[in-house]
């Protein structure tokens, strides 16, 4: 009897705990911002001293007080010696800044390595803040020959790595000869470095500060590609330079094999390739010298707190000659999940971040902005559509369905059946516009309103009529249309529940919309990796994703190129056909072949022709509606940005896209805290 009473007590306790949990979770948001109020604004810059130049009359440049101290103590050469002869002069967004402070960001673990990449954006050339052009960065300039087959890249004389070693053409040559051309490190050469016949393009050193790339064919996408060679996706394939003096100790071409093997063992790896791949990237190595504004202090993205500190040799100054960056360090704090990260941001514990900030929380952020001591900026996406339905053009698992997916009229009908205004209200807080996945109106590639809004009006009647015309006239007793073989037509929409997009909700709405015109569809929520695998093997019928490559159709992995991998589930078996020279897979249709021809031609054409080709591409894209766009130009993808109210020079308007490495394109090195 006693033991049974004990157990019932346990039951009651269990319930009590659940209740407590719920009450606690309900209280949490109200409670959290409060302590933040009392905290002395944690982002307060460490050095209250203004950035007035230390009175060293012969110096052309100014530096951070912490560096000046080190110089005075003899630990560091003077700023003039640290900067290159022609430093990069970066425009500031609003004001000349002041030195000091820590920029606090949140990240969600080692897989969130691109959080670092986006802040540092450490490439030879960069995309401009608005994404309209490529601008000099590490390279001070470039020059191509008339037919765009040879590109000279000019480096900065006297520029140094973060450890003080000179940065020269040899660092690019080291990458070319010992990373790109090393078959262990680079089994297949990236498309951007390939000649038309598949061989590697040539890279040669003209002098210590000039490097020339030579392609067998014209290459007009060269700079666009170069602007993304910053170690993104923690891949050595995304490099175009590396610190030769540091990397040599991990490369068999420079180190005795036994010695290297000992190093590999000691670091706990199996092969030298694994060790090299880690040491080649600052945020994985923690020690590798960098050319970015901040270099790791020994911590890495695998740590709970990952700190990158001021690079005393950073090659850029503001218009008044103050060496950048203004902010002393960037501190990435680990959050176990994105919900806690959002909560921390509401509490004012994050100084500048759009990554992982959920757009749906926008009202929460705005309402708590004063309490949390931050402001909220919206950077809408760069074009395209923030939720698209991609229809697999090579679905063969069920021929009846595959045939419907390839039917253009069927897709047009389904597009007209979607109530985009409802999606805009429910999933995008009422902002953005109903559109297809084409560039933004301000972009030169914009094909025109006719194409941007094609098939987007909500017209169930027209949809019904088209569906009847397509031949789907028979219906079952629940009102759903039947396929020619008498079975109910049932489409599957695969969705990955992600933090930044309400795609499952959007999918749910679309399923309802389609049911209204008699087309049955069901949602499958899939785990990301599984979804990706099924995408590659052509096992998805329809997927929901975003269209964010419209600004860059001719470089990287554009989603309208069936050859792109990763891409969307556009036509995976056509990619197979191309990759196997027609041995396996499905031959591209003329329309899809035209897309690829356009992309290939644009890569060897001048700017004007590229614009023409891009517009044609997007007209074909919108007209064939392989991809149904819903709502676009919203800040859904990392575009709701929480910014500490004391942090200045963060632009209100900026291009926002992955190729731009947003916020990297807004130049975080010139952000500063007002004293």
């Amino acid at each position: 009897m006693l033991s049974s009473r004990k157990r019932s007590l346990l039951g009651v306790l269990l319930v009590g705990m659940l209740a407590l949990l719920l009450v606690l979770s309900a209280c949490a948001p109200a409670a959290t911002p409060a302590p933040a109020e009392e905290e002395p604004a944690p982002a307060e810059p460490a050095e209250p001293e203004p950035a007035e130049p230390e009175p060293v009359p012969e110096s052309k440049y100014n530096e951070a007080p912490m560096l000046a101290e080190m110089v005075a103590a003899g630990e560091l050469p003077p700023v003039d010696e640290r900067l290159p002869e022609e430093p990069l002069v970066e425009e500031v967004v609003d004001d000349i800044g002041q030195y000091g402070g820590t920029l606090r960001r949140g990240f969600v673990g080692p897989s969130d390595h691109n959080n670092y990449t986006r802040v540092t954006y450490d490439a030879l050339v960069r995309h401009a803040p608005d994404g309209s052009q490529v601008i000099p960065h590490i390279a001070k300039g470039w020059e191509s020959n008339d037919d765009f087959t040879a590109w000279k890249v000019f480096l900065r004389e006297g520029m140094k790595w973060s450890d003080g070693e000179p940065f020269t053409a040899d660092d690019i040559l080291f990458w070319y000869e010992h990373i790109l051309l090393n078959e262990d490190l680079t089994p297949t050469i990236q498309v951007w470095m390939q000649n038309a016949d598949g061989s590697a393009a040539k890279v040669e050193k003209l002098d210590d500060y000039t490097v020339q790339w030579t392609f067998a064919q014209p290459n007009t996408a060269f700079l666009l590609d170069l602007a993304n060679k910053d170690g993104a996706d923690k891949s050595i394939n995304n490099l175009a330079f590396a610190p030769a003096h540091y990397m040599q100790q991990f490369h068999p071409a420079f180190v005795d094999e036994a010695e290297l093997q000992a190093k590999v063992k000691e670091a706990g790896y199996e092969t030298w390739v694994e060790l090299f791949a880690v040491e080649a990237l600052p945020h994985l190595s923690g020690k590798r010298p960098s050319t970015a504004a901040w270099a790791p202090d020994g911590t890495t993205v695998a740590d709970e707190v990952f700190v990158i500190k001021r690079n005393p040799y950073y090659f850029a100054v503001d218009p008044e000659g103050n060496q950048l960056p203004y902010v002393d360090e960037v501190r990435f704090t680990f959050y176990a999940d994105k919900e806690t990260l959002n909560l921390a941001a509401v509490g004012g514990e994050i100084d500048m971040q759009g990554r992982h900030i959920a757009m749906g929380n926008y009202p929460v952020f705005v309402e708590n902005a004063d309490k949390g001591g931050y402001r909220v900026i919206a950077w809408p996406t760069f074009g395209g559509s923030d939720a698209v339905l991609m229809f697999n053009q090579t679905y063969v698992n069920d021929p009846a369905i595959g045939e419907m997916l390839q039917n253009k009229d069927f897709r047009i009908a389904l597009s007209h059946a979607i109530d985009r205004e409802a999606i805009k209200e429910l999933a995008f807080l009422g902002i953005g516009e109903a559109r297809q996945g084409v560039p933004a109106p301000f972009h030169p590639y914009y094909p025109g309103d006719e194409w941007a809004f094609k098939y987007t009006e909500f017209d169930p009647e027209m949809a019904n009529k088209i569906l009847d015309d397509v031949g789907l006239t028979e219906r079952d007793d629940e009102g759903f249309r039947l396929r020619p073989d008498g079975e109910r037509l049932d489409l599957e929409i695969s969705v990955v529940p992600t933090q930044f997009a309400a795609w499952p909700d959007i999918g749910q709405l679309i399923v309802e919309n389609w049911a209204d015109v008699g087309v049955r569809a069901h949602l499958e929520l899939r785990e990301r990796t599984l979804h990706f695998a099924m995408r590659d093997t052509s096992d998805l019928q329809i997927e929901i994703w975003n269209e964010d490559t419209t600004g860059f159709p001719f470089s990287g992995q554009p989603k309208f190129d069936p050859r792109s991998q990763p891409g969307l589930v556009f036509a995976p078996l056509m990619r197979q056909w191309i990759n196997t020279d027609g041995a396996e897979g499905i031959e591209p249709t003329p329309e899809i072949q035209r897309l690829m021809d356009i992309i290939d031609e644009a890569k060897v054409s001048g700017r004007d022709r590229q614009v023409e080709l891009a517009q044609e591409l997007f007209r074909i894209w919108a007209d064939n509606i392989w991809q149904i766009g819903t709502v676009g130009l919203t800040p859904m993808v990392q575009g709701v940005v929480v910014v500490n109210e004391d942090l200045h020079n963060v632009p209100e308007v900026a291009g926002n896209d992955w190729p731009l490495r947003t916020p990297g394109n807004t130049r975080p090195e010139q952000y500063f805290y007002a004293q």
Binding site: G11, V15, L426, L525
Partner: protein, 418 residues
């Protein structure tokens, strides 16, 4: 206490009277004057009314087991109330469509995050239920949906109103609901528990979630009982090697930490399965681990009863083994099984809820309490729409009621024990 117990030994029905006013539990005050007199007699002069006592004692001794349990159970007032709550929840689970006011899956773009609407019963002193209409829209600065009550707009509410079409138990199609907007003008809608981010009615979703969550609990427990009685019975009745094997199996299963095991098993469910398949799989997973305790109890009972005279007598009379087990042994502890399973249901409900809450159990578009809570598990809901956490209260009340009911049933299960 001891006095009470003494009087009970003589007349344990003294509270209610053995004539048993039936399950209403009115007791002797129920209006029958004779009963009242008799009660007085029992209370005041137990020793002085031997005739009456004898008559009632006989009723006590000949009363079937379930009647004794019922008499005893009735005295546990809290358990009785809990029983009523459980019956109410079960009714909702049987007819969720009837109790809903709107289609639980119907989304509405311009009606997200409407707060809880209060139901007013009296309008100007007369019983004329209504709710105030709401009006609102998106705040241009914060982009939040904001709603105000519109006191000029009263939406009349009536019982047994006509609403959306639904099916009762999947058989009969009807559109009658317990509560609905009086259909005179058809304007306005009621949101008793507000709406979620897609403008779906939270009250109706809660009703449908009740069906799923409760039925998972019931089905899982039924499966557990089946396994528990079968394996426990075999183990206890036959003994020997069979007993040894089954007992070791139980020990192994009980030594496994259940939460990680459930998480592993549910995580291993193919993501390609449909909602219905997942539902059944989760039920089976929950019951596969839940049967061990009951099997232990059943075995213990069998071991004890095996040597009892009546079992030996049955054996000697040539009864078949199934007859001995099912006709003679099992009925002596049915009440225990019922009590044990009542206590197991809330555990199952909690398990389903937390698995779904973690995103490992049921997934939308299925609606269960766990799914509802999971959908409320984000900053937006907690900060902007705290009413979305209300399904948590449903879990608390139901689980509490089931626990107290189970407790009362267990105490009552052996009416002879003191």
């Amino acid at each position: 206490m001891s006095v009470d117990r003494d009087s009970k030994t003589v007349a344990p029905w003294s509270d209610d009277g053995p004539q048993g006013d039936g399950p209403q539990g009115d007791g002797p005050q129920g209006g029958d004057p004779q009963g009242g007199d008799r009660q007085l007699a029992v209370d005041d002069e137990v020793a002085g009314a031997p005739a009456l006592v004898a008559e009632e004692a006989e009723a006590f001794y000949v009363a079937p087991n379930w009647k004794l349990v019922w008499w005893r159970f009735k005295k546990h007032r809290l358990a009785l109330v809990s029983g009523v709550v459980v019956i109410m929840v079960a009714t909702v689970a049987l007819f969720p469509g009837f109790f809903s006011t709107q289609d639980p899956n119907e989304t509405d773009a311009v009606k997200s995050f409407i707060p809880v609407q209060r139901l007013h019963f009296f309008d100007e002193g007369r019983l004329r239920p209504f709710v105030y209409g709401v009006e609102g829209g998106r705040n241009a600065e914060t982009l939040r949906m904001e709603w105000q009550i519109d006191p000029t707009k009263k939406i009349p509410v009536e019982f047994l109103a006509e609403g959306y079409e639904y099916e009762i138990l999947g058989i009969v199609s009807t559109n009658v609901h317990l509560l609905g907007v009086a259909s005179s003008d058809g304007e306005g809608e009621i949101y008793l528990l507000g709406t979620d981010r897609l403008g779906r009615d939270q009250w109706s979703r809660l009703m449908h979630g009740t069906q799923v969550s409760l039925s998972i609990g019931l089905v899982a427990v039924s499966l557990s009982i089946f396994l528990g009685i079968l394996l426990g019975g075999i183990s206890g009745y036959f003994g020997g090697t069979v007993d040894l094997v089954i007992q070791r199996l139980i020990e192994v299963l009980q030594s496994l930490p259940p939460i990680p095991i459930w998480m592993a098993l549910t995580a291993a469910l193919p993501r390609t399965w449909s909602v219905e398949q997942v539902y059944f799989a989760i039920t089976i997973i929950l019951s596969l681990i839940g049967w061990t305790t009951l099997a232990r109890e059943v075995r213990g009972r069998f071991l004890a009863l095996r040597e009892e005279d009546f079992v030996v007598a049955a054996k000697l009379s040539g009864c078949s083994q199934p007859r001995i087990i099912f006709r003679h042994m099992l009925p002596t502890f049915t009440s225990h099984i019922i009590a044990a399973s009542t206590l197991a249901i809330p555990v199952m409900i909690i398990n389903e809820t937390f698995l779904s809450f973690l995103g490992l159990g049921l997934r939308p578009p299925a609606i269960s309490w766990g799914v509802l809570l999971q959908e409320a598990q984000n900053l937006q809901s907690i900060a902007l729409a705290p009413w979305l956490l209300l399904p948590g209260l449903a879990v608390i009340f139901t689980v509490l009621a089931l626990n107290i009911l189970g407790d009362g049933l267990r105490d009552a299960a052996d009416p002879y024990s003191q």
